[in-house]
């Protein structure tokens, strides 16, 4: 993840691009800010917004041909916003607020403006503000040029005089009734000149022209064939007051740069009218009709009503659907920047690791983003960089990684073929979390599958998702390699999966392996039990890793139909589905956020949910949302109760994985395989409160048992004289666990348990 890549990503997010109105307006009036102010009745702020970019607000409001409306997103849902009329509504109330602009200290350079129309006046205004000496030459006996051709109702002479005088009063030297000829121009002193004489005027500098006699002018810089002469306004294009203002301003920028002797062309993007990249989704916008202004202009109420029709265009598609993006109060363009700073050593602003580790990596953002930006991919890559450069806090994902190590330990993992032969054709890989949540379903599911799939083996282990999600690339690669070695030894069987996260891991890391879901097998061989019943219609929650996996999604729906279960779709389903909060190990980094994610998902539909990922099920049910797993419908009894059951706690999940292994060995080989570790002899007495404490402190029952075993066998402990309790510690790996306990008959009562990562090194010198 380097700087160039982050720049590209930043650029991919269009949220900060201008709305079409501002982009198509050649002087970029911030129409969105203007309407937003008017919508709250704040005409004063609205006026200031307009005046910031338009020095002749009333002339423009009364004459503008409104190029801003060309691409207005309101157009197709009721009609484009009446921008000029709204501008006039502010001017009529607040133009007395106009103050004299700040002028920079006088410079020596002198600029000649030829032609007193709008473009020449704008150029004069901009240059006088910058401190140049400006002399304006007008052929007629009044300024304004073409403005006088409007009828009085539209643009009264009094308005023209007022707005032009305000500008001349800044200190512009004006010469009326002077048409410059090559001879008279040569006698004038000046450093640069702006030619704004309108179409068909004379050519006092004998500038180069095109075959059709129009002047040769660079359309980006307005420079003519003579380096210090610039030209714009209606001598270049059909008359438009707003384009004249734009030309005058842009030419003034060029003249300033020319006189300062800096590049005329450097960084002049998006000057004048342009097409914006911003896309605003209007699929959910109701049509509202235009509020037309009265002949005398808008009343306050009507102006507010019209301004309220403005959609305040932006993108925010991803933020609307993702609780994580919403939580941090901004949008990906900003987040990418923040993440970059976080990685950067030069800037020393390593912000918020927590933010990077709170994304569920679910990819919904990419699905809704007009430019397909996937913040999950970004966050995952950044996690990888952090791990590689040693910037990931060691405790960030430790618990999940140890959970994975547990599942893949020789004691817990299992690799078995049906008839004891070396290879198999199919390999059932239920995934570590299904074993942890519902060990009783593992042998049942195996039996159903084995009834139709010849030579079916079974493998119990973790696919490696926690390593991938944590950014631990090396560990992930190693986990995949271990799996692949065993898979090769088994004769490259087809994988039968029951978890979409496992599928995601295998299909990214080992695409050569052929996979199918247990549900597809059930579908193909009509194994779904007929006429199951559930009291209500179930809403389907697709796991986030099932996004784009139509075959799995379809098989589940076919299965529900086959079982006679009524079901319906959530608004956000299939490719638009949301993560439950388990993805990306976000639950470890940010448990409160995961609660919000779950609440949001749970409240999207009144119905009970049906899903086909145990983690989704356990988390949603834990949040109080009755949720069934597809396997509950296939094998379960008393569905109402099953939908409401809470998932097992962390200790129980470890225990369950061992039980799943025992059951599978029994089923396939007929042999008992009791798996007990020596510390399991220590039966614990835990109050419900103590269980909660352990869960919160991420301490497993086996951790407690190991401490007690150590204390009881080594005697290394402390004794409390008053209570008789024993206090002891044990450090299996990185973490030191402490337990305060007492013996009660054959069991051990736990009074307290806590842990620390700091290491005890013995006496300080």
């Amino acid at each position: 993840m380097d700087q160039t890549r982050l720049r590209e990503l930043e650029d991919q997010c269009i949220q900060e691009c201008a709305p079409p109105c501002a982009a198509h307006c050649p002087v970029h009036v911030d129409v969105r800010a203007l309407t937003s102010a008017i919508a709250t009745g704040d005409f004063q702020t609205a006026f200031k917004t307009l005046y910031k970019t338009v020095p002749f607000p009333e002339i423009i409001a009364r004459t503008c041909n409104q190029p801003c409306q060309a691409a207005c997103y309101r157009k197709s849902v009721g009609g484009d916003i009446q921008v000029a009329a709204l501008e006039l509504a502010c001017i009529q109330r607040y133009d007395h607020l106009i103050t004299k602009p700040m002028l920079l200290p006088q410079k020596d350079a002198r600029v000649l403006i030829i032609g007193g129309g709008l473009s020449g006046l704008t150029a004069a205004f901009e240059l006088v503000k910058k401190g140049y000496q400006v002399a304006l030459y007008e052929r007629e006996n009044r300024l304004g040029g073409r403005l006088w051709s409007y009828n009085e109702d539209q643009l009264h002479g009094e308005v023209i005089h007022r707005e032009i005088e305000r500008i001349i009063d800044l200190g512009i030297e004006v010469h009326f009734n002077t048409e410059l000829t090559p001879a008279s121009v040569s006698s004038l002193q000046f450093d640069a000149c702006y030619l704004g004489t309108g179409a068909g005027a004379s050519n006092p500098f004998n500038l180069l022209t095109n075959p059709n006699h129009s002047l040769q002018v660079n359309t980006d810089t307005f420079q003519t064939s003579q380096a210090n002469v610039f030209a714009g306004g209606s001598l270049l294009r059909p008359p438009s007051t707003i384009f004249s203002v734009s030309d005058g301003r842009r030419a003034a920028i060029s003249i300033d740069r020319f006189l300062q002797n800096v590049s005329l062309t450097a960084s002049r993007v998006n000057e004048g009218a342009y097409n914006t990249r911003l896309i605003t989704n209007i699929s959910k916008v109701d049509s509202v009709e235009i509020v037309p202004p009265a002949p005398t202009g808008y009343s306050v109420a009507d102006a507010i009503a019209e301004a309220n029709r403005c959609l305040q265009c932006d993108c925010m598609e991803c933020v609307k659907v993702c609780e994580y993006l919403k939580h941090y109060g901004s949008y990906p363009r900003k987040y990418v920047r923040e993440i970059y700073n976080n990685l950067s050593i030069i800037m020393r602003t390593r912000t918020s690791n927590k933010m990077i580790n709170s994304c569920t990596l679910c990819g919904l953002c990419e699905e809704v983003c007009p430019t397909d930006l996937n913040m999950g991919v970004v966050n995952n890559e950044v996690r990888q960089t952090m791990v590689k450069t040693g910037k990931m806090p060691p405790s960030a994902h430790d618990f999940a990684l140890r959970d994975m190590a547990f599942s893949n330990d020789a004691r817990v993992a299992l690799n078995l073929t049906a008839d004891g032969s070396e290879t198999c054709d199919y390999l059932f890989f239920p995934g570590c979390q299904l074993s942890a949540s519902n060990p009783e379903y593992i042998p049942k599911l195996y039996q159903s599958l084995a009834s139709v799939l010849p030579k079916l083996g079974v493998m119990l282990r973790c696919c490696g998702a926690p390593a991938d999600w944590s950014g631990e690339q090396e560990l992930f690669a190693q986990t995949m390699l271990e799996f692949k070695t065993q898979w090769l030894a088994l004769g490259k069987p087809k994988l039968v999966l029951a978890c979409t996260s496992c599928l995601r891991m295998f299909s990214t890391a080992l695409p050569e392996i052929e996979t199918l879901s247990a549900w597809q097998v059930f579908e193909a061989h009509t194994l779904f039990p007929a006429s199951r019943q559930y009291s209500r219609s179930l809403a389907i929650h697709d796991p986030c890793t099932s996004r784009y996996v139509d075959k799995w999604q379809d098989a589940v729906r076919t299965g529900l139909d086959a079982m006679g279960i009524t079901h319906h779709e959530l608004e956000m389903s299939r490719d638009l589905t949301e993560c439950c909060g388990y993805g990306g190990v976000a639950w470890l980094a940010h448990p409160e956020l995961v609660q919000d994610i779950l609440k949001r998902r749970a409240s999207e539909d009144e119905a009970d949910y049906l899903t086909y990922c145990v983690m989704c099920r356990d988390l949603l049910a834990g949040q109080g949302k009755p949720t069934l797993h597809l396997l509950d419908l296939i094998f379960g009894e008393n569905l109402d109760q099953l939908a409401r059951r809470k998932g097992p706690d962390y200790s129980q999940r470890h225990e369950n994985r061992l039980r799943a292994k025992e059951k599978m060995i029994k089923l396939i080989t007929g042999k008992e395989h009791p798996m007990t570790e020596s510390y399991e002899r220590y039966t614990l007495l835990l109050t419900p409160e103590m269980r909660v404490t352990l869960e919160e402190r991420l301490i497993l029952v086996e951790d407690v048992q190991k401490v007690i075993e150590f204390a009881e066998t080594s005697g290394e402990s402390f004794k409390n004289q008053q209570t008789g309790h024993t206090l002891a510690f044990f450090k299996p790996n990185l973490i030191t666990y402490w337990v305060e306990f007492s013996r009660e008959g054959d069991a051990w009562r736990v009074h307290n348990a806590y842990s620390h990562r700091m290491e005890l090194e013995g006496r300080a010198s």
Partner: protein
């Protein structure tokens, strides 16, 4: 310039675990690393501006430098009995212009509310090509500029600045920064010692802050909006 005797941390600490200016994060080792980056000639003249109880001064002397210390606090200077010191403000040092090869300012530059005038004074004292060596706290991350107000209420952090500000002030005074090294780890270790000593970071912030409400605000600010870091730099008088 800090007046250690008035700093709340000073009152808290005993002599062997002095306050921020006395028992600085990184200690003498950090000072020596920073000095080494200047490759001063043997027996160079070095001014220790804000010398406190004189630990650095003594070490400079031991290394063979011609070391002079100034401090505002007489109480401090009395502890430096055997060293060359004088009571002075660091924007008015009673030494001739162009007389020093190096000026050292430890944990005191940003605390001085007259940073610019102090820098101007150092510039005057230094020979062309002479070195300014600074160690100090700085603002490593600023998430909310308004949070800066909160620091003002604390005795020791009120003048803390960002790297950009510090660099521009020093360069603006006519120096070229040759080395800048982040030493935040050292600062964190120092804070960790404070946690063990006082019970929690919160208790530490309470010490830093004048009043109870101030400490709440300070704890919040330092938790969420401002992250402090620590650095040393060496800069050379140019022009």
């Amino acid at each position: 310039m800090p007046d250690c005797a008035r700093c709340s941390l000073f009152q808290l600490e005993s002599e062997n675990e002095g306050c921020l200016h006395l028992n600085r994060p990184g200690g003498l080792e950090l000072t020596n690393t920073a000095l080494a980056s200047c490759k001063l000639p043997a027996s160079a003249s070095v001014l220790d501006a804000a010398c406190g109880a004189g630990a650095t001064l003594q070490s400079l002397r031991d290394q063979g430098y011609g070391a002079i210390g100034i401090d505002l606090s007489m109480e401090m200077l009395r502890k430096c009995a055997l060293l060359t010191t004088t009571q002075a403000h660091c924007n008015q040092v009673p030494l001739p212009s162009l007389s020093q090869d190096a000026v050292l300012m430890e944990c005191a530059l940003s605390l001085s509310n007259e940073m610019v005038s102090a820098l101007t004074e150092f510039y005057r004292l230094l020979r062309p090509g002479g070195w300014l060596v600074v160690t100090d706290i700085y603002i490593r991350e600023l998430h909310d500029p308004q949070a800066m107000d909160c620091l003002t209420g604390s005795s020791c952090l009120s003048g803390a600045k960002t790297e950009v500000e510090i660099r521009s002030k020093i360069e603006g005074a006519g120096f070229s920064i040759r080395n800048w090294q982040d030493q935040t780890l050292v600062f964190k270790q120092w804070l960790a010692r404070m946690v063990f000593k006082l019970g929690s970071l919160d208790a530490f912030y309470r010490q830093l802050s004048a009043c109870e409400t101030g400490s709440q605000a300070l704890a919040n600010t330092l938790g969420n909006k401002i992250k402090l870091g620590y650095y040393w730099l060496s800069a050379q008088k140019t022009g």
